[in-house]
Assembly symmetry: C2
Homo-oligomer: 434 residues x 2
Amino acid sequence: MIFKGKEFGVGSKVKVKTFSDETTGTLIESYDPGIVLVKLESGYNIGIDRDNIVEIKVLEKPLKQQKDEKEFELSHKKPVIDIIMTGGTISSSLDVKTGGVKWLTSPSELFKFYPEIFELADIRIINPFMKFSEDMIPEDWQKIAKHVVKSLNDEQVKGVIVTHGTDTLHYTGAALSFMIENLNKPVVLTYSQRSSDRGSSDAELNLYCAAKAALSDIAEVMLVGHANSDDEYCFALQGTKVRKMHSSRRDTFRPINTQPIAKIYRDKIEVLKEYNKRKSGKEKAILENYFEPNIALIKFYPGQDPEILEYYFKQGYKGVIIEMTGLGQVLSEGNRNWVPVIKKLVDKGFIICAASQTIYGTLNPLVYSSGRDLVKAGVIYLKDMLSETAYVKLGWTIGKLEEEKIKITKEAVEKLMLKNISKEFNDRLGEGFI
Amino acid sequence: MIFKGKEFGVGSKVKVKTFSDETTGTLIESYDPGIVLVKLESGYNIGIDRDNIVEIKVLEKPLKQQKDEKEFELSHKKPVIDIIMTGGTISSSLDVKTGGVKWLTSPSELFKFYPEIFELADIRIINPFMKFSEDMIPEDWQKIAKHVVKSLNDEQVKGVIVTHGTDTLHYTGAALSFMIENLNKPVVLTYSQRSSDRGSSDAELNLYCAAKAALSDIAEVMLVGHANSDDEYCFALQGTKVRKMHSSRRDTFRPINTQPIAKIYRDKIEVLKEYNKRKSGKEKAILENYFEPNIALIKFYPGQDPEILEYYFKQGYKGVIIEMTGLGQVLSEGNRNWVPVIKKLVDKGFIICAASQTIYGTLNPLVYSSGRDLVKAGVIYLKDMLSETAYVKLGWTIGKLEEEKIKITKEAVEKLMLKNISKEFNDRLGEGFI
């Protein structure tokens, strides 16, 4: 192997010649000493076996070669993006020594994998904790919201990115949507399905597009990630109307009952629906990170015993979201009839809301008599709100009422649950595509 | 209004002239005396205000005008289809006197709305009960299976149709897939999203295509219904890999992690994947309608207390399906860690299986350490099986083992749960489209 060019390192633009091929791209950190990892223009990473390499030629020196923490101080020439790292696959790489996961928590580690975003902005990293997202609990949403609001109200910050595992990212998207009032700047959640050190990682495009979104004028809580299996552009999706719909695909997050806010390309943003604009001047975001944890989500299934409702009530739970079938039905005849159990518990002050297990489409309890009976029994029907969003909103709503010392009644909860706070309802009911 | 042609009635081909327009189609029963209901060639129904009608001209007399029950005896010239009517919107029409629902339960009532299928086959109606599908319980699946097997083993029957409400139709599809062994003829489940007496009903195309499927050589349990919003063709979907994905769209049923078996047009069937062929001769279908009702389906949500598992165990439940996040994860740290609770209960003989709440894609517990811990704790991972199918299969599996006096152990259940009995697993893992 011949090395032309005196030095090469992470961030260098290189041309790698093998016996059969030639590859041009940016050199990124490889944890496998036998592999040279090159990020292509397309965003894909390619791993090249060192034994096959004939020559590596450095075309351009790295922007900032092997910077240490001190050198990552703000340049004051670029806009500032705060990245709140909370864990997940996007923040992980394989620790070749232990075989376990190694978290990326510093700007210099991030720079090894994503040198490009450092050209767009000065990056500050906030790291409240590191978790895989199945381990996130509502208290974590409250912590993240607090950090986001702090960054939003820092005048030098242009936008905020939250990196997060995919499994429950849509819950966190909903939580931030409700927990931040008077949103003044973009709040972008992003992720990857494959870790940053894997050749086929989707992290780079997602993070790059997240940075573009964070610098845009879209003052919404949005999820930014691959729109399809290509590496061409990302979707920016409304935090309250999005769901993880595939266990492994890079375009796993799909908009539900609404359009994406925008398509985000490397060089442009194509807006697809109306959004709230960035606020100028001194308008501050307000933290409203309430959450009553004693609530539950129940997916109804055929023949299910309504006793499950009694169980939660006896455990001191304040309310539940029931994922009902179709337009909003549950078993309403025979010896497992849910209607009288629901009526009894609602009369005792238990809050019972309905969302649909079809995911797409809206509830309509008035079409069938069983639905009308459930309305009479006191069920709050949440139109086309996703059940996951409904779970988050119910915890937030009851938490907010408790904070404001308002009695938890069906009427008080219903008023807030049916108020369209962060586009969790679609104005054009019944819309939605599969 | 002038009536040319001596008689006209349900089933007549008519030309209806209004002051502004002219419509040709088949007259069908209208429950609104002010409206004349005409089915167009396209399959759509159109309601015409009687006050606007200038003339109704009968082009062709009805095939069988106002037949009474006696006349619906078998012609012995056409193939026989048994229709097992179980209720749902497809079997309902508005009772204008009471404002409630009126069930269609006889061939003559069916003929009023669907004269076309009587040209394809001799229709026999079996009517074990009438329900909306949210009220279906596992005992109902057992009853339906019994009737289906009886029809399948009747030599003069070419195929079986089950009409059913949409809300839990995919559960019944899975139940029949497991409860009938050695399937020898087509078993077709069909439905409608709008009742038969509504102008925009989707029932006619669905029922017509269901009849085409019942006469075909596809010996599978399949759901047949609109493939899209047009009235051009239906999909035939595998009973174990289908889900209601929209609360109101006519193409609500979507294939999950697989292709449709076929596209069914009015005049042809286009096969899309391999299927089991109709059996010739004396091979009989075998009824295996076991079901252990003491099982549950739990959808995991962030921060959920694993105490719910203890609750079901204490109630005498034999096992549960947990809808986990992503590749198969649950909360596995802190004071609500699910792993030790799962381990404790599995050690006591409780069966715990995992399906994914992403719906699309397959589980893979080996990617992350938390998944590996859950495997060690004794969770049975069900690959790409739908959670709804998994719930049905778990009840069936435990019921079958009980029937055969085999001890309910993790090993015995796992062996059957992971055996691909009715294409509930996809051989090419990770396939699937959104």
